[in-house]
């Protein structure tokens, strides 16, 4: 799978989710923040994007803690996303 295909698949999985809130947040993150991430953070984001919305949402709103430190960094970035 080439880079375009990989990103397009990720884009689909970020913007066709169960909840509108997550479509908006992950879609915005993918366009603006994801290209600036290092490889470890990018991997952590892909793992987060694979989670179901009701697993991911508590991490973003802070009601659950991330066990993995790199994942926690990415969640902090997600929390700072402002949807335009």
């Amino acid at each position: 799978m080439d880079e375009r295909e990989r990103i397009n698949r990720l884009r689909w999985r970020c913007t066709r989710r169960a909840m509108l809130e997550m479509d908006l947040l992950l879609g915005e993150f993918l366009e603006r923040i994801f290209p600036t991430l290092g490889p470890a953070q990018a991997e952590a984001f892909i793992v987060l994007a694979d989670m179901e919305d009701l697993e991911l949402w508590p991490l973003i709103n802070g009601s659950r803690e991330c066990a993995d430190p790199v994942q926690a960094e990415v969640v902090a970035l997600l929390r700072d996303v402002r949807v335009k």
Partner: protein, 594 residues
């Protein structure tokens, strides 16, 4: 590409959509021994059913006396008497059975101390034919839809249902007699176009809330089933009826709960006026949803909206103690910061009435069979859930009946398929030679279009047109203008151009194909709404006000009937509302008041 190059896969049944209704139908079919394919744009547990929090209603009577007949009355009244009383009786009678079944599938319902399913009160749920509130909603905390989807998915895994994940169905296959023979679908991972040749096809594709600019619906809800049905010559029923919530974040659509106004939130216009004092002097900001929504739209239409385009109003909680906001509304503060860029402790939240649920859809009977305008089943075609119009929601849906609809009609459509396959009523008919021509022509047009329209811009234009011309409160001239505009937008949709022509994971192509479906729904909605010259349920017109002759603007003499919109010629016809229930007496027409 010619037909011969399209691979054909044969199944007894194909289900399009893997949300609540698709999964419920799939259980019937797989456990019934049918070779079943379920196609979904996403992994099943990512379907929009997850977003349903409130609960599922059933007259179990676990907390106090309840009866399916009372539930039926509430549903008929909620529908503003546009719901079909045979389907409503069927749904309400079946509710306890499907809820208990779901419990046996492993659904983690909240429980009473005695271990029974806990039931809570919900707006519009009453005992003894509207007398007093009753506890009828069964829930799993605020994750009912999510828990339901997981229970249904697990049951399907057990039954060996075959899922085709990240596939988009493109078109129905029908033969000359009108029988449905399956669907043509696109696998996103390969770009391959495949025919799913089936004895029976069930549509469970959900709603199309993305036709509106402000919508609580996830991006996935593009009305694919409605688009496919319309292109195949199936009429769409009662598409003018859409449920709105008064306060979605302007631009984003994310819901701001009524609780904010309950805690003292105030709606203000561009003059900083608390305008609800004029519309509802007593209840003010706590007036009912429709009253608040209408007042908001009136303020915007009369030029007192806020922002550069004067197209939203403000929900103000800056006068509340920050400690109260942090304590009682922490989630809302976060939503406002993330989706409006505003900390509501410091500044008011921009809000607009926001589309939430589609009452209309593909016409079906209570058995989940798709029906022609004369009521005869369309052979081989079934539908359930938000895409279908049974019609149990009529002009307005009663809260918690959406999850019930999924369970009851998901199951009944599955049972109908089993019966029709077993009796030989549906068999594998030969595919017509040209079965894929129209779909392939559509794909080819998209691949070769030059100098065409931009998909995102055209979709936005469609959504803004629907929001402005056919929103929660409707005006004659705006509707007429809206119909003309949507016809223009339809021309742009027919000329969409994508830069990416690749096969594998071409999301631009998929989004263009979704837009092909959105335009059908938008057109059906606007044309149906323009034609219906009364107010009923969620369809409220400025020129059909509350009068002594027509309370609430409802005109039963002329408009107590279902709309049917046909894509061919964008024509309308009407059919009577079924007023005869299955076993009980008709719930006679009456003014709807709460």
């Amino acid at each position: 590409m010619s037909n011969s190059s399209i691979p054909v896969r044969k199944f007894d049944a194909v289900i399009v959509g893997a949300g609540g209704s698709g999964l419920r139908a799939a259980i019937q079919l797989s456990e019934g021994g049918l070779k079943t394919a379920v196609l979904s744009k996403v992994f099943p547990t990512r379907s929009h059913t997850v977003a349903a929090q409130g609960g599922v209603s059933a007259s179990l009577g676990n907390s106090e006396e309840d009866h399916w007949h009372w539930h039926m009355y509430d549903t008929v009244k909620g529908s503003d008497w546009l719901g079909d009383q045979d389907a409503i009786e069927y749904m309400c009678r079946k509710a306890p059975e499907v809820v208990v079944e779901l419990e046996h599938f492993g659904m983690p319902f909240d429980r009473t101390d005695e271990g029974k399913i806990y039931q809570r009160p919900f707006g519009g749920h009453m005992s003894n034919f509207g007398e007093k509130p009753v506890r009828r909603a069964c829930a799993a905390a605020d994750r009912t839809g999510h828990a339901m989807l997981h229970a249904l998915y697990q049951r399907n895994v057990r039954a060996n249902t075959q899922f085709f994940v990240e596939w988009m169905a493109l078109d129905l296959i029908r033969d000359e007699s009108g029988q449905v023979l399956g669907v043509i679908a696109l696998e996103m991972e390969t770009g391959e176009v495949v025919a799913f040749h089936a004895k029976a096809t069930i549509f469970a594709t959900g709603g199309a809330g993305r036709i509106y600019y402000s919508s609580t619906n996830a991006f996935i809800n593009t009305g694919d089933g409605l688009g496919m049905a319309a292109r195949a010559g199936i009429a769409l029923e009662d598409m003018e009826f859409w449920q709105f919530h008064p306060t979605g974040v302007a631009g984003a659509g994310v819901l701001i709960t009524e609780g904010v106004r309950g805690e003292g939130g105030i709606l203000r216009n561009s003059d900083n006026e608390r305008f609800m004092e004029r519309y509802a002097p007593n209840a003010k900001d706590l007036a009912s949803r429709d009253v608040v929504s209408r007042a908001m739209v009136t303020e915007i239409n009369e030029g007192r909206g806020c922002g550069p385009n004067k197209d939203f109003v403000l929900l103000d909680i800056t006068h509340l103690d920050p400690a109260t906001i942090m304590k009682r509304l922490p989630g809302i503060r976060e939503i406002s910061i993330q989706f409006a860029g505003i900390d509501p402790i410091q500044a008011p939240i921009p809000v607009v009435p926001t589309c939430h649920y589609q009452m209309g859809g593909i016409p079906t009977n209570f058995k989940g069979q798709v029906v022609a305008p004369d009521g005869a089943p369309v052979k081989g075609f079934y539908a359930a859930g938000e895409v279908a119009c049974a019609s149990v929601h009529g002009a307005n849906r009663l809260g918690t009946n959406s999850l019930l609809d999924l369970l009851v009609f998901g199951k009944s459509s599955g049972d109908s398929v089993i019966e029709d396959v077993a009796s030989g009523a549906v068999v594998h008919q030969d595919l017509p030679a040209d079965f894929a021509d129209r779909t392939l022509a559509r794909l080819n047009r998209l691949n070769t279009q030059t100098g065409g329209s931009n998909v995102n811009e055209t979709r936005l234009e469609l959504q803004r047109t629907m929001q402005k011309h056919c929103g929660v409160f409707r005006f004659k001239e705006m509707l007429v203008e809206g119909v003309a505009k949507i016809v223009e937008i339809e021309k742009a949709v027919a000329r969409t151009e994508i830069k990416d022509k690749s096969q594998v994971w071409n999301t631009a192509r998929v989004e263009a194909l979704e837009l092909d479906n959105l335009i059908e729904v938008a057109k059906a909605t606007l044309v149906s709404a323009e034609a219906r010259k009364e107010s009923r349920g969620a369809h409220v017109r400025d020129d059909a006000p509350d009068t002594p002759e027509n309370p609430n603007g409802r005109d039963d003499a002329n408009w107590h009937k279902h709309t049917l919109w046909q894509r061919e010629g964008s024509s309308l016809s009407y059919k009577p509302v079924t007023m005869t229930p299955l076993t009980v007496e008709t719930i006679a027409l009456k003014t709807r008041s709460y």
